[in-house]
Symmetry: C2
Subunit: 336 residues, 2 copies
DNA sequence: CTGTTAGCGCGTTCAA
DNA sequence: TTGAACGCGCTAACAG
């Protein structure tokens, strides 16, 4: 059996209340007794029981984290950053994987609430805005990360997808490309919709007509990359550049490009989205629009910390600026 | 404020004790009242408070999970599988990232203990066998995953690394290769040591002399791949096959191979270790020794469940068989 | 500044 | 079979 506050009190010759105050850092206590109690506690190896404390104070120092999966780079970064930063501050994180499924998410939310989490960082499915709002009203701050929920007044920290896709497309345009293929996520996702919009805008500003044959939308998976690359690269005339704004489809695209014997960037410029360590290890190192996953994760943590510290729910949307990382996969198109 | 057992008791017209018994499924209770209470509880939307229950029963239905990081495929798979399976059984998992650092791990273990976890699945750093043993003696089962700790009597579930490397090497040998390069982890890790041993054994059994110039050991990182590939491929005569038994270095190797203009498998057979979705999307699809990360994770869960269910600590070591997945990156060497 | 007392929400004696 | 009372370990009144 672990030591309790009573043991500390006994060993230090004070009451449990005094011991509690000494350890919890209450202001109303004699410095001498405080240090004395602290020493005794350390000496006998006392460690407070967080459960008992939580039952009393309604502060568990537990926070919830829900993500769709652990495969996606951004989600993984979010999980790692949230875990490490919160742990350093004495919080423990309960990880839950929703599989982007509304029913599972609903169940998770309820369980997390039962466990008395102090706060929640969630990549929401989007379907449980109601439950998220309920959490907020119970006094549990929730930060929506990566995805936005329309029907919930929540702080959310998102990537600047429109801007990122716009910048990526402009980069290709400035290199001289006019036939630019795009592989992107489905429009049901915020990121898919916004990236498509960014691409469209850049093209129209440059006076380049939109060619539907150059655009392929699909879910976030390798298969989308092969289908998309085959379709788009088969257009006539073929594109001189391909913007893969659907991270999961990157490998699929790479395979088609290799199979077709296309050299990058000589025959085709390739621009990816969401940086991941291995992009720089490919040959050639791949240029990419970095959506700032780690900055996003850190900001989500900052916001949660503020809220935990008493700040009100601003309902504000925070956007992490994207950054174009030029490596060696893009260049001007060959003269034709 | 959430509903308490008292509310249920009141609404059902019974005492809290009866309500508790009805919901907890104690045997000593009238069937009629049990169903009545259950209905009332469901009707008013009562949900038991796990903290209060844990304080009383010393069972938190929380389990700890520690991994070195979330980048490594095996660790990630472990995290995902453990989380999903345990959650389905009503457990929540507290995720902690040790960064393979002994001090951090020690701190994590203590905190997890404070939080009253019922069990622990850990990819250990190896330095805190003592604390792990203490946990076991406190009655908290711990399963060591992926890595083994010598100085702790723990159940561990590991990959069959010797066997895997042996099988991989034999495959290359049977294709006719005699100059087989190896890039592997440092011998301080169990996996590094065992894989090297498997390779060595296969070679010696085949009567092929070991050439140190063909072997490169390094930490699990892309850099190791480039250094290793450059060194090993530069040997004279050069290898006709390269066994990359260091997963993290795969991308590094790929880059060197591409930069040297080597065609796979025409000029060089390539065999990787630890399967990951994108290996099959490369061109050509890469052959690999699959170490069975998901089976390993599932077995770790099974074992923990058994232990949670009262089984004694067998101290046994479980090995997950490796599997050679032949795709298209290996073939017989060219005649020379 | 410190000690005494009363719960937080449960499960579990002990009687009835 | 049920109810009343107690306590898990801790913090928050309320006195002193």
């Amino acid at each position: 059996m672990a030591l309790t506050l009573r043991d500390v009190a006994q060993a230090a010759g004070v009451s449990v209340a005094t011991a509690s105050r000494a350890l919890a850092g209450s202001g109303l206590i004699n410095q001498a007794t405080r240090t004395h109690v602290a020493q005794v506690a350390a000496a006998i190896g006392y460690r407070a029981n967080p459960l008992a404390r939580a039952l009393k104070t309604r502060k568990s120092r537990l926070i919830g984290l829900t993500v769709h999966n652990l495969e996606n780079t951004s989600f993984r970064t979010l999980a790692a950053v949230v875990q490490q930063r919160m742990q350093a501050l004495g919080y423990q994180v309960i990880l839950s994987i929703s599989s982007d499924d509304a029913a599972q998410e609903r169940e998770i939310l309820a369980t997390l609430l039962d466990h008395g989490i102090d706060g929640l960082i969630s990549v929401p499915t989007g379907a449980n805005g109601r439950q998220m709002t309920d959490l907020e009203q119970t006094g549990i701050p929730v930060i929506s990360a990566v995805r936005h929920i329309d029907d919930a007044h929540l702080e959310s920290v998102l990537a600047a997808d429109f801007e990122g896709a716009y910048a990526g497309t402009r980069h290709l345009l400035e290199l001289g490309h006019r036939r630019i293929g795009l592989i992107v996520g489905i429009s049901e996702t915020t990121s898919g919709k916004e990236r498509l919009a960014g691409y469209t805008r850049a093209l129209s500003e440059a006076g380049v007509a939109l060619d539907p044959a150059l655009i392929h939308q699909g879910r976030y998976a390798p298969e989308t990359g092969v289908e998309g690359a085959e379709a788009v690269l088969g257009a006539t005339p073929p594109p001189t550049a391909l913007f893969v704004a659907n991270h999961e489809s990157s490998v699929g695209v790479l395979r088609v490009v290799a199979d077709k014997g296309l050299r990058v960037p000589d025959d085709l410029s390739l621009l990816f989205y969401e940086d991941t360590p291995w992009f720089q290890w490919l040959s050639p190192p791949m240029s990419v629009v970095d959506s700032g996953a780690s900055e996003l994760a850190n900001l989500a943590v900052e916001r949660l910390l503020q809220r935990l510290d008493g700040a009100a729910n601003s309902g504000r949307e925070f956007r992490i600026g994207s950054r174009l990382v030029q490596r060696a996969s893009c260049r001007a198109p060959k003269e034709s």
